[in-house]
């Protein structure tokens, strides 16, 4: 596993930050971001896929009240692909019977989707090798988050109660002055390293670190290992053309 990985450094691979507005469709935006990134790094095709199609054509209906990332993948599989954002634009609302997947031109499709083990080392390895992964976390700390690495305890951020889906796009370590837990045995002050995940949110670019945020890596902070799931756009074991830049 490399020390750092940041898929945002591959031009075009990570689409711009979306804003779900009044529609609880983080699950569809995370899935769309996952598919876009995988098409970019596997086929060097940089597309923006339609979140609205995932909302309108999902089996569960009314995705503006919430949904599951894997439902979005099932919708893409059922429709043998997904239209572009341009052809099927986002409207931040849901109307029954509005799905027009059959008439829209597909710009991306997936082979299947997989869940990953709830192990942060394995997740990091997969992320660096195959590309971004969607995760579902407890969003308690996000509403008033501005910047930096969030490190919460299971009592303040219950890892079993997850309610927000986002896209994992990289990881690294934050060097900052101060006494770290690892250095307690040598009280002298020297740089403390805080390993973190980089996550893409769907609350607009004015929130957080230009739409992104960072969670501590290695402590299952806010339940990040509970539902790591990603689409696959290639046959198993076929590696993408690009690898994750440090």
């Amino acid at each position: 596993v490399p020390h750092t990985c940041d898929w945002r450094k591959v031009a075009g691979a990570i689409s711009s930050i979306r804003n779900q507005g009044n529609c609880n469709c983080c699950w569809a935006m995370a899935a769309a971001g996952n598919i876009e990134a995988l098409w970019g790094i596997n086929f060097l095709k940089f597309v923006n896929v339609s979140v609205q199609e995932l909302l309108d054509c999902g089996r569960c209906g009314n995705g503006c009240y919430g949904g599951y990332v894997w439902e979005a993948f099932l919708t893409v599989l059922n429709n043998s692909g997904v239209a572009s954002e341009r052809d099927y634009p986002f409207r931040a609302n849901f109307r029954p019977h509005r799905c027009h997947a059959k008439t829209s031109n597909k710009v991306a499709w997936i082979q299947d989707f997989i869940f990953l083990p709830d192990n942060e080392q394995r997740i990091a390895q997969y992320l660096a090798t195959y590309g971004p992964i969607t995760v579902t976390i407890n969003m308690k700390y996000l509403k008033l988050y501005q910047k930096g690495v969030i490190k919460a305890s299971p009592t303040t951020c219950d890892p079993q109660f997850v309610d927000h889906s986002v896209l994992l796009v990289g990881f690294g370590s934050d060097k900052s002055e101060g006494m770290g837990a690892e250095t307690v045995s040598s009280p002298s002050r020297h740089p403390r390293s805080t390993p973190y995940w980089i996550l893409k949110n769907s609350w607009g670019a004015q929130w957080g670190e230009e739409g992104y945020f960072r969670l501590h890596r290695g402590s299952n902070t806010c339940g990040i290992t509970k539902y790591p799931v990603t689409a696959r756009v290639q046959k198993p074991n076929v590696k993408p053309q690009l690898s994750c830049p440090p």
Binding site: G66, I150, A152, D163, H216
Partner: protein, 104 residues
């Protein structure tokens, strides 16, 4: 200094200034003085909440004013949460690990 719910009392000047700045920054306006006062109260509460998160956090995160600082927890959860997953995943369970990519 830090603003906490206890020492807010009648709205201090700096709180009102901070709220004005928030409104400019995130383009917020309110239809009635009552709504404005209510949002100011919520803003103060969220500042105190941010202070608490700051104290709870073990990392390097900073909490404070964000685009959602004039929303209550309920409003925020309704607008931006992901409600259904809170109930867990019916019957989905774990399927594969990276070393068995052939299974799906």
């Amino acid at each position: 200094g830090s603003l906490t719910a206890q020492d807010l009392g009648p709205q201090p000047l700096e709180l009102k200034e901070a709220f004005k700045f928030f409104q400019r920054q995130f383009n917020r306006s309110y239809l009635t003085p009552e709504e404005h006062a209510r949002r100011l109260d919520i803003f103060a509460h969220n500042l105190a909440q941010a202070q608490q998160l700051q104290e709870e956090d073990f990392g390097t995160a900073e909490f404070g004013v964000t685009p959602f600082s004039d929303l209550t927890e309920e409003e925020f959860g309704q607008l931006y949460g992901h409600r259904r997953a809170a109930g867990g995943v019916p019957g989905m369970g774990r399927v594969v690990g990276p070393e068995e990519p052939e299974e799906s």
